[in-house]
Amino acid sequence: MSKLIAMDEAAARVADGSTVAVGGLLMNGAPMEFCRALARRGARDLTVVAIVAGPSVDWLVAAGCVRRAIVGLVSMEGFGLAPHFRRAAERGEIEVEEWSEHTIICGLQAAAARLPFMPTKAGLGTDMPGLHPDRTEVVEHEAGAYLACGPIRPDVAAVHVHEADVHGNCRVLPKLVWMDSELVKAADAVIATTERVVPERTFRAAPERTTYPGFAVDAVVEAPLGAYPTSLFPWHGYDGAFITEYLAACRDPEAFGGFWRDRVLAPEDGPAMVDANGGAATLLRIREAGTQS
């Protein structure tokens, strides 16, 4: 009963109009090939949940997949604002439901625990709770105020990992998941894209290093270089040169179409994506950027 599926099938499991959570944090560890597959399949009207996002959400917006974004932050970190996210928000083409890192986590946890809300001190006194009064409420409890964060329950969550087996066991190296574990807990269906598929015995040989148990993962997709151009520590850093070119292309609507087609959308997998963006030299450059091992 293998859980291994093709990337296209993974993308097909995200129905138009559904809520999909994507992992990673800013320029790091995002399931980018999965996002490209959603873009290729022309997914529509998605509510995307991303705690702290970068190119992942920008590309889903660029491809017209997104109706609503539940996010804490979307940017290209030191490289600038996320251009498509920004433009679509300013033009009212997407609804941005801004929460914050911790309050999104609370919402995800409320969903995972089947609770009406999770409380937190985060966000008190800010304008953020007022953006979604149907989902968050400031409560003046006699023992102290709290923000009640209602459930955020994704239909599907996609996370990228280093190693997985056909049963869904997943390992992230050395152990840092950013905040992906919260998505895995909360989503009704979990898709893990993985750098490599390994035998089950890899997990049984070092069970303390397993990150997600097989029973928490519904589908596994082999996706080498599947986080590119974001980083996958400790194996590679993000591709800053690519991001710089991407942002330049975004400033030139005429150039952008070709860039988007040839260098983002068309490559059928991670290796092809890297080949379309410098090939081996790019690999060497980003491997140097991921220095810790």
């Binding site: 914050s100 911790h102 985060a122 800010t126 105020a145 152990k175 993000y238 800053g240 810790q292």
Partner: protein, 261 residues
């Protein structure tokens, strides 16, 4: 300003000096100056300072500051790697960690911060990145330090377009009513250092940087800055401090924050 140091080094040193030895700090994205300040303080007056790099790696000894303050190149030699931010939040909430530094596109006199939108939320003139962890950390971390390399009336405004992060809120008593510990302690900008006196919790000039006048600060600020008597000049970084900063950050990542000005 002397040629022996840059404004970046002055700011880093000013921030570092305000970090006591019991500082237990962590950093987020794009935080080159705070990271430099934590490392400088640790090498000088605050040897026991705890710094959790990228909110993940405890007390690393990176050979240099890489091009992202979330990069694993910052984590060399750490005594612990956390697995997820969720593990980590508990320490921010229970006071085991006590220090964080913010910037923002807008900062108001109470140290509240906007990083969400310029203009109305639904139809923004500029959609900014979003608050990220601001709403969380500003409420839960007792010691917040603000920094800004762009001290202008567009950044320092009387009224925010959106309050992403909680400073002293609407003034004295607001945090206490909500049961929030601490609050912003200090603002270090490219012109001056400011704090928040208990009586008003509005920004007060604590020192002006060498060569800057009180009037220049006031002109660069979109609200009235409190001035109590004579305002001293911010101490320059010592040659030792400058040397340490340049060793910590030999590729001048901290100066990138000046470019946005």
């Amino acid at each position: 300003m002397s040629a022996d140091y840059g404004i970046d080094e002055l700011m880093v040193a000013a921030l570092a000096r305000e970090m006591p030895n019991d500082t237990r700090a962590f950093n987020g994205a794009a935080s080159f100056m705070p990271v430099c300040a934590f490392l400088l303080a640790r090498e000088t007056h605050a040897p026991d300072l705890v710094w959790v790099a990228s909110s993940i790696a405890v007390d690393p000894t990176p050979p240099r500051i890489p091009e992202s303050t979330l990069s694993d190149a910052l984590w060399d030699g750490a005594s612990m790697l956390h697995s997820s931010a969720f593990d980590f939040w508990w320490y921010a909430q229970n006071g085991r960690l006590n220090t964080f530094c913010f910037r923002g596109a807008q900062i108001d006199p109470y140290g509240n911060v906007n990083n969400t939108v310029i203009g109305p939320y639904a139809t923004p003139k500029v959609r900014l990145p979003g608050g990220g962890g601001m709403a969380d950390l500003s409420c839960q971390v007792p010691r917040v330090y603000l920094w800004s390399t762009t001290h202008t009336p567009r950044v320092f405004v009387e009224t925010l377009d959106f309050r992403s992060g909680m400073g002293w809120g609407d003034g004295p008593g607001h945090r206490e009513r909500l049961g929030l510990q601490g609050g912003p302690r200090l603002v270090v900008t490219n012109l001056c250092v400011m704090d928040f006196p208990e009586e008003t919790r509005r920004m007060r000039l604590r020192s002006v940087h060498p060569g800057v006048t009180v009037e220049q600060v006031q002109e660069a600020t979109g609200f009235e800055v409190t001035v109590d008597g004579d305002v001293p000049v911010t101490a320059e970084p010592t040659p030792d401090e400058v040397e340490i900063i340049r060793r910590i950050d030999p590729t001048d990542m901290r100066k990138r924050e000046l470019a946005g000005g």
